[in-house]
């Protein structure tokens, strides 16, 4: 239902000022997302952005669309319920690495395998920012800058893309906030993908991870066409240094959707109880 003509990116921006620190990668993600929505000519009120808790989970309020800022780790659950009940909406879940991969890790696995038609954007800054700098699942094992893990977390990194593949996701991509036009293209493709589209966005935290300044040099684009072959994708992801951007895997898979079709009245259903 395209009732709105030629919306521009700024039309998708709300008038609420973000709580993010200067230089936060999430500003660029917000900007790229509004451009992707404008590119897709999506009416504002037909989109719903669902989030949990954390710096990046504040994003829905900054977008001029329906938003839901829930509890920590449960963005995908709320988004799945909304999509199941309202398949007509374009549903996006957004959040951070702690929200999505630690407290919400179970929902991540099951959202991948359930494959509902929605988009999940994780702004990965390898740190808990809102609680002032603790290690997240994607933090390296020897990162020593948190008082909570003074010897470093000592735990191998969570591999979001590889785990998404193993869990059955059909669209897996990685973007970089420092490459806004590339990120916009990826986000638009993810939203258009008919199924669960997972986008990990490398989104630096200048406050607690100043070492992310190096990301600009480390990030590199995928030097191949997106594969639809899961074995090939697994090979790429196993060899990956975690800094490869682009669409890493895209294959259309059966989508979970409600099979509702009104065929009986409640009175008819209640007949089964009559003696």
């Amino acid at each position: 239902m395209m009732t709105v003509a030629a919306l521009r990116a700024k039309d998708y921006k709300s008038d609420i000022k973000p709580v993010w620190c200067p230089g936060c990668g999430d500003f660029a993600v917000l900007s790229a997302l509004t451009k992707a929505l404008a590119h897709l000519e999506l009416p504002k009120e037909r989109a719903a952005l669902i989030s949990g808790i954390g710096c990046s989970s504040r994003l829905p309020a900054y977008i001029n669309a329906y938003g839901f800022h829930g509890v920590h780790g449960r963005a995908l659950a709320a988004a799945s319920g909304l999509k199941a009940a309202r398949p007509d909406l374009t549903v996006l879940a957004v959040g951070g690495d702690g929200d999505g991969f630690s407290i919400g890790g179970n929902h991540f696995l099951h959202a991948c395998r359930r494959n509902m038609d929605m988009t999940y954007i994780v702004m990965d800054n390898e740190v808990y920012g809102m609680t002032k700098g603790q290690a997240s699942p994607t933090t390296g094992p020897d990162w020593m800058d948190s008082k909570m893990t003074p010897h470093g977390p000592g735990v191998r990194r969570f591999q979001p893309a590889a785990i998404a593949l193993a869990a059955g996701a059909g669209f897996i991509a990685r973007g970089f906030s420092g490459d806004p036009s590339g990120l916009t293209r990826i986000l638009a493709a993810a939203i258009e993908y008919p199924g669960f589209a997972f986008v990990q966005v490398l989104s630096p935290c200048p406050t607690f991870r100043p070492d992310h300044r190096d990301w600009k040099e480390q990030v590199h684009g995928l030097e191949a066409e997106p594969t639809g072959n899961a074995v090939e994708a697994a090979r790429i992801l196993q060899a990956d240094d975690g800094m490869t951007t682009g669409i890493l895997y895209a294959e259309e898979l059966p989508v979970w959707q409600p099979r509702n079709q009104a065929s009986a009245s409640i009175t008819e259903i209640e007949e089964e109880f009559r003696l």
Binding site: T3, I16, P43, K44, E45, R46, A47, A48, L49, I50, P60, A61, N64, A65, Y66, G67, F68, H69, G70, V71, G73, R74, A77, A78, A79, S80, G81, L82, K83, A84, A85, R86, D88, L89, N106, H107, L109, H110, P258, R259, N260, Q261, A262, S263, A264, S265, I266, I269, E270, F273, R274, L275
Partner: protein, 574 residues
């Protein structure tokens, strides 16, 4: 042989056996047969923890009046075999008036039962079953039970055909032959039941979990997300295909954290939504429930209580989740807590909970329990209540739309995704009228006031409680225990003790003024409930809703409170 009460003339039959012996199937048929014969009835079941092969017991009580609880004692026990039957000895009280029906071929009556003094009636059940191709002992026993209880052959046959309808012609034929053979074996009937007076037109045979499902559909629920848990799963299994038939759906979630957040997401989208669980699941859902309260998104949870804490006693009943339902959420989180007062009332109370949650944009917890959920009743069809309360949806928001506007009644018009001009972000963070996060004192105060006001100012009408009688002796109860309390009240009245019963359906917000009025002039007040901690009694005291000197009869599960126990307690000191 006497029935267990003059005021509620009824027969109580227990059928026990090990897994696969068909005790529950025989009980289901007996209930249906009694209903066909014009009786009201109630079936409860008890089972061990085994997945398959465990012992089980079906307890059926039937009579001329609607039944809300099991009696104090059993008239007849049928042992299909005696494996592990000792585990049921305390759930099936027998006495010298009772009868034990059994086949000596499966062994002598165990001492735990024989010690009751009940008359032992040996019958060649096994032999009869063996003589029929595909014959089974439970069906022969059922025939004998039917004859002893004075049920017509045709009613038994109709019961077999209804309950075994899906089993195929061979099973049906063998079962009918077994029932006929058993019928012929029986000694003299007890003849305790008078001939049924009225017809059975319009009566239902329904389980409590199904009844909550019916209430959910009637209330408009069209989305359910849930995680399997005993003893709530039957509600979900019943709802799954039927939601699809009315244009809705059920999603099996990965855990209860997901299911509560899924229904909140769906309800944010405008679709009335519900989940069902039991204590452990409710514990996991609390954070989500607080989110629904704060963001003012309607959400309904039917909590089918079982013995707790922790994993507790999953297969048996207890009313011990009142505290968590009332007080489990962090912060000041006013919400609704309701409890159905019978299996039949599961329909009304669940529907009402959905309508209240939708209209008041809040959380409604419905405290059912195993003794309602996994039992079946023969009852008058639950009346369809008209004019449902609906959600206040703002279809054409003005330019200055404020999702959390401070209205007089505390209910703010809600927009839904898809409505142009109504865009907002629902938030569990404290917020201002527009929904923008705010940590300012004035916004917090105003929104807390609003969320409380909408619940306190609403007129809930007379449905907050079921009230009976007007005596100086008052009994306050809630939920499933109401059945035993009402039967106890009937006996007290028959014995010349006037009594009033106040069975609370709406536990929060507590209708203090109405309760005070209902208790007016009472000389003696008892609070009766099935938990160890006297949770309702303490709650009512905390709310200053009880007179000094009020007394508590609180006993944990899994044994149900029996009417005689209540009569004894309230008459011992009055």
């Amino acid at each position: 042989m006497n029935s267990d009460s003059s005021s509620a003339r009824a027969l109580s039959v227990a059928i026990t056996g090990s897994g696969g012996s068909g005790a529950v199937t025989a009980g289901l048929i007996l209930l249906e047969a009694a209903a066909r014969a014009g009786c009201y009835g109630l079936l409860t079941r008890s089972s061990g923890p085994q997945i398959r092969g465990g012992e089980s017991a079906a307890m059926v009580r039937f009579g001329m009046q609607p039944l809300g609880c099991m009696g104090d004692r059993f008239d007849l026990l049928v042992g299909l075999d005696w494996l592990n039957v000792n585990r049921f000895a305390d759930e099936i009280p027998l006495d010298g008036e009772g009868v034990i029906l059994f086949d000596p071929g499966v062994g002598a009556v165990p001492p735990a039962l024989a010690g009751s003094g009940a008359r032992q009636v040996p019958l060649p059940l096994k032999e009869q079953a063996a003589a029929i191709d595909g014959g089974r002992l439970n069906m022969v026993a059922l025939g004998a039970v039917g004859a002893i209880c004075g049920l017509p052959r045709e009613a038994l046959a109709a019961g077999v055909e209804r309950v075994l309808a899906d089993k195929g012609g061979g099973v049906l034929k063998a079962s009918l032959a077994c029932v006929a053979a058993g019928y012929g074996l029986a000694p003299e009937p007890f003849a305790a039941l008078p001939a049924p007076a009225g017809g059975t037109d319009g009566r239902w045979n329904i389980g409590g979990n199904e009844a909550c499902g019916v209430g959910a559909l009637r209330g408009g629920v069209r989305f359910v997300a849930a995680y399997p848990i005993t003893p709530a799963s039957e509600m979900l299994e019943w709802l799954a295909p039927r939601l699809e038939q009315v244009g809705g759906s059920l999603l099996q979630a990965e855990d209860e954290l997901a299911s509560i957040n899924m229904i909140i997401g769906a309800s944010f989208g405008g679709v009335p939504s519900l989940t069902a669980t039991s204590g452990p699941g409710l514990s996991l859902m609390l954070e989500g429930l607080g989110l629904a309260v704060a963001s003012e998104i309607p959400a309904v949870v039917v909590n089918v209580m079982r013995g707790g804490p922790s994993t507790g006693i999953p297969t048996k009943s207890e009313q011990s989740d009142l505290n968590i339902a009332l007080h489990g959420m962090h912060g000041d989180a006013p919400h609704l807590v309701l409890a159905p007062l019978s299996i039949r009332d599961c329909v009304f109370t669940t529907q009402w909970a959905v309508e209240l949650a939708e209209h008041l944009q809040t959380v409604a917890l419905v405290l059912s329990d195993q003794s309602l959920g996994q039992s079946r009743v023969i009852t008058e069809a639950p009346v369809r209540t008209p004019a449902p309360l609906a959600r206040r949806v703002e279809e054409e928001p003005e330019d200055d739309y404020r999702r959390y506007a401070l209205t007089a009644d505390g209910i703010s018009p809600m927009t839904l995704p898809g409505i142009p001009g109504g865009i907002y972000t629902a938030d569990g963070l404290e917020h201002n009228e527009r929904g923008t996060p705010s940590s300012q004192a004035a916004d917090h105060q105003a929104q807390l006031d609003k969320r409380l006001r909408k619940l306190e100012a609403f007129d809930y009408g007379p449905a907050w409680a079921e009230q009976h009688g007007a005596g100086p002796l008052a009994i306050v109860t809630w939920g499933s225990t109401a059945g035993a309390v009402l039967e106890a009240a009937g006996r007290l009245e028959a014995g010349g003790v006037p009594v009033r019963v106040i069975a609370l359906r709406l536990l929060a917000p507590l209708r203090r003024a109405a309760l005070a009025e209902a208790l007016g002039g009472a000389e003696s007040v008892w609070v009766v409930e099935q938990n160890h901690g006297a949770q309702l009694f303490r709650y009512l005291h905390a709310e200053q809703a009880l007179p000094a000197g009020a007394r508590s009869l609180a006993r944990p599960g899994p044994l149900p409170l029996r009417p005689g126990e209540i009569v004894d307690a309230v008459t011992a000191t009055t």
